[in-house]
Subunit: 136 residues, 2 copies
């Protein structure tokens, strides 16, 4: 997987690139939870030669480093640069994704008027007991 000239401990030192910075700018510029393809087209307006592969690579790098996060909606991978802890309301009709501030999620939590909730999904991400044991 890694060849001899690369550092074996997984952390390549990142170099900056115009492309990656632009990708981040674009994701930050919107609250629309864009797809990779949308980002590609937007970035292309300013960097006409950028390729879709580069956009994917950079979205993945940015997600890995925590600068943006991935959101799955309707089987589609989307990206989100909102660093505040927040939750999502996903409309089954228009497939829109709307942000819900964490601040509103309290014991007397109510969604804004007009949002009709049909399903709730709560996913915890972390390390399970078995993997925890293997690591220590």
């Amino acid at each position: 997987m890694l060849n001899d000239t690369q550092q074996s401990e997984g952390s390549l030192r990142r170099k900056r690139s115009r492309q990656r910075e632009k990708v981040l700018d674009i994701v930050r510029s919107t609250k629309s939870h864009p797809t990779a393809d949308w980002v590609f087209h937007e970035v292309r307006k300013e960097l006409p030669n950028i390729s879709l592969a580069t956009v994917y690579r950079n979205l993945n790098l940015l997600a890995e480093s925590g600068e943006i996060s991935e959101v799955i909606c309707d089987g589609q991978l989307r990206f989100d640069a909102n660093k505040e802890e927040h939750f999502h309301f996903i409309c089954k009709s228009c497939k829109g994704i709307f942000d819900i501030d964490e601040a509103r999620v309290t014991p007397d939590f109510k969604l804004p008027r007009g949002y009709v909730v049909q399903d709730l999904r709560i996913d915890f991400y972390g390390i399970c007991p078995a993997c925890q044991t293997q690591r220590s």
Copy 2:
């Protein structure tokens, strides 16, 4: 999309099929949140001629009718026949999906020992105000 001989109001009357019943059995037989491909291989043990396309078609039909639900993990579509309201713990290391009973999610909620939570995602699914208005 629909031709003249079909009912226009979208609700074809379903016929039962051995294949669909087996697919449902298999999904119900496990708590492992299987992928379509895993289901395919399991069903194949009993119906050696079933095709992957049929498995996909039936998983979609079953999800549509609410008999199973779809879970996305790490960009992979998975299926779940657990009809109890419940949440998921997704291990970032082994990618395992573990069920968390809703009953445990109370004001003094704690995850079982050993689960280390790094991220929390809460997604509400439903109809947004704009779509609500269009419908009424």
